[in-house]
Symmetry: C2
Subunit: 454 residues, 2 copies
């Protein structure tokens, strides 16, 4: 197992060889290492050493490493290579990986590099670039094992052997009929035990699951995950098979999408796939964040009106104000916990729409329990601040009411989103906080009015 | 492609057949459908119809469907089956899937069902249950293709053919030496083109990547994703190979872990793997949420002291209070956006520790830009409320300062977490909101003191 310790040792050995200028030792270390590990080490080196290490790699390993380095390192490495050298490495990569580097890492050199590449490889990459970013068309690999329905199992195995080294997937062979139309799939498991003379047409599974080249990568991942596929064929609307998206690619998508949900929950909508933190111009990131902040600001400004409405009470007892941020903060925190719990439960199918009453009952009970505990602490805090008992009681009672209320809102909003076919993952923590703020304030000041006879 | 439309049509046809009591039509519909689709339809049916549909499935399909139904439906279906019927279905499943159902869905019948199962299958399941939840040991499948170093390629292919139907993975064959010790892996791609008389020992890749049975599933997923593996062998500390975790399982883990990060960002730490939304007792969910809420409450109570400190100013101009929730809310929202952006960038390796100054510069600039725009809106809002110009200027200037400040805090905290080897995904929206609240208030009241000469 490549534990962290192994990786650290490898990095230390690489650095030591660099310091000693021992290129032979370095070359031996690198040749024995896995490309993702070499990529990570390059990411951690200074620019000069990055290039020194990279130049020691064999062509095939260099390509695999370049596919894994961070955007900054990839840019740096490509900028240090001549256009011809870089083109040669890109030719070595799968077209989808080359397309990703050309659009995400070095967009400004995309044309020059494509022109320098072998025309056939460049054509493959250009074909992928015609599809929208984050689509199946961008991710697909066009090297798959194609067989014809009339071939025998033995012939199909020969076809497989002929391109086994380059095929993106070998778990399935794809049965193409006239005009390259996908007629069915033949699993390698079935092929391996089939009588050699049986025909592919008899062995294949007709009407396989497919995606269109325009299908969004998230949908592709959903299909592969749902049906436990090793790969899914990408089929043009005219029935022609264009390529395959493999489980590897789906794993990469899932790693990326998982972090995207956190982004959404924080109230940020991510832009195009070819953006990374540093490649988005600051002004563009501001432009993307401002509409949402503005909406929340306008929504939040109701709190000013609520407080203005209770101006008389606040004038009479300024100490009332002291607990406003604490109360609405607690409401927001409680609500954020509930929303995130429900986003997960809805995503995993643990909670469905028809469960609404059970959910509300649970969150009502949990909110009251949380409120009673925090209310007890609040009581002590206000008394310790030297305030009158009636104010302490007001704050404590408000904590109970606000926690219960926030818990119910935090459950209702994601369920309502699902009901109206909006992705519950779009319900963000800031949205809930803002929703709970004004109502929480009103609850507090109404309780204060009643208890303190202001 | 199984689009939503296909699924809806299938569901409508199933419901119509149920209404007509046409069991033959129903059986034909189900036999042609994919198990995850059947599972989803069962999840949507009433309890009685769930059982009626399930009883029509062939044993193998019934097992695959039961593996995919929601916890509630699985419990319901198993409760309607006799112990022997349920045991027969569980025997049909892979041991890891049977173990998951027995611990997550029907823990109270685990012993009875295991006792009713075929002793050999039950022993396999019990072996998995010895490992901790969410570990490689729980996920692994013990049916893999084992070969010996002295065998020829042709013999290895025969071994593969003999268990190809049951093997969890065929992309790799595992080369076992004396005592079942894993000596290397042989990729099927290599085997397919190897000369029939070459030995496995010559063809294998020695020292493969492995995991221990105790390895956490998140780490297993990380390794499979990083090295693009189709499966990873699980190896005991004495070198014996116990099973394999496949890419399918990793895809399921990633789907689950992705939603887990949202949970953390909402300030909830998830419990054991065998819990789902409804299976956690309410009091236990309260017990899990309260420490964090309590900590935030205590932290947040500083805001009361900050306001108390400025009591004189607030007394003189009560309208100052009106904008407190709006200001700290805006700070919290801005900070939550920044944190979620950085959690993602750090997780994907787009930002590293040494980038700290570039990050701070970006977030400083972005925060000021956001602040200036929102400050303009704030100015209009306060004037529209009929307040004096000096108060409007105070609020507007505070928005600028608080947005900038929140943006910097929102960038610093996840980077600091990474620095001290804490997972940045543990930095939650509530944590940032609470951090920004008290400091934002102090900024506001200091600006008010200066501008309004209170």
């Amino acid at each position: 197992m490549t534990s962290l310790i192994d990786f650290d040792r490898l990095e230390a050995e690489v650095r030591s060889a660099l310091a000693r200028d021992d290129m032979d030792a370095l070359r031996a270390l690198l040749a024995a290492a896995y490309p993702p590990d070499v990529a990570d080490i390059i990411d951690r080196l200074d620019d000069d050493d990055q290039v020194r290490v990279f130049r020691l790699l064999e062509l095939e390993q260099a390509a695999e490493v370049l596919d894994e380095t961070s955007v900054d390192a990839t840019r740096e490495l490509i900028s240090e290579l001549s256009t011809d050298e870089a083109a040669e490495i890109l030719e070595e990569l799968d077209s989808d990986d080359a397309a990703a580097i050309l659009t995400e890492d070095v967009p400004e050199r995309q044309q020059a590099l494509l022109d320098a590449m072998d025309p056939e490889d460049a054509a493959d990459v250009r074909a992928l670039l015609r599809y929208p970013p984050q689509s199946a068309g961008r991710l697909m690999n066009d090297t798959f094992v194609a067989v014809r329905p009339g071939q025998t199992a033995a012939q199909a195995l020969d076809e497989l052997r002929a391109i086994v080294h380059d095929a993106a997937v070998i778990a399935y062979l794809y049965v193409l009929e006239g005009g390259g139309r996908l007629g069915g799939t033949l699993s390698l498991r079935k092929l391996l035990v089939a009588p050699p003379t049986q025909t592919v047409g008899e062995l294949m599974r007709p009407r396989p699951l497919t995606v269109a080249p325009e299908t969004d990568q998230e949908e592709v991942a959903r299909i592969v995950a749902r049906y436990d596929l090793a790969a899914v064929p990408v089929v043009h609307s005219d029935g022609r098979m264009l390529g395959v998206v493999t489980a590897d690619d789906v794993i990469d998508i899932l790693v990326e999408e998982g972090t995207e949900d956190v982004l959404r929950f924080g109230g940020v909508e991510r832009g195009a796939a070819d953006e990374t933190y540093f490649t988005v111009p600051i002004l563009q990131s501001v432009r993307r964040r401002i509409p949402w902040l503005l909406l929340l600001f306008v929504g939040g400004s109701i709190t000013a009106n609520v407080l203005g409405f209770f101006e008389g009470e606040l004038q009479k007892l300024v100490a009332l104000t002291f607990y406003v941020p604490l109360l609405i903060g607690t409401g927001g925190n409680t609500g954020a916990q509930t929303v995130s719990t429900l986003i997960r439960a809805l995503a995993l199918g643990e909670v469905r729409l028809r469960d609404i009453w059970r959910v509300l009952w649970r969150e009502l009970a949990a909110g009251m329990a949380l409120g009673v505990m925090l209310g007890g602490v609040a009581l002590g805090k206000v008394l310790a601040d030297g305030q009158v008992a009636a104010l302490a009681a007001t704050v404590a009672l408000s904590v109970v009411a606000i926690c219960t209320w926030a818990n119910i809102i935090g459950a209702l909003v994601p369920m309502a989103a699902r009901r109206f076919n909006v992705d519950p993952a779009l319900v963000s923590a800031p949205m809930i906080t803002t929703l709970v703020d004004a109502s929480g304030l009103a609850i507090y000041l109404l309780i204060a009015g009643a208890l303190l006879r202001l």
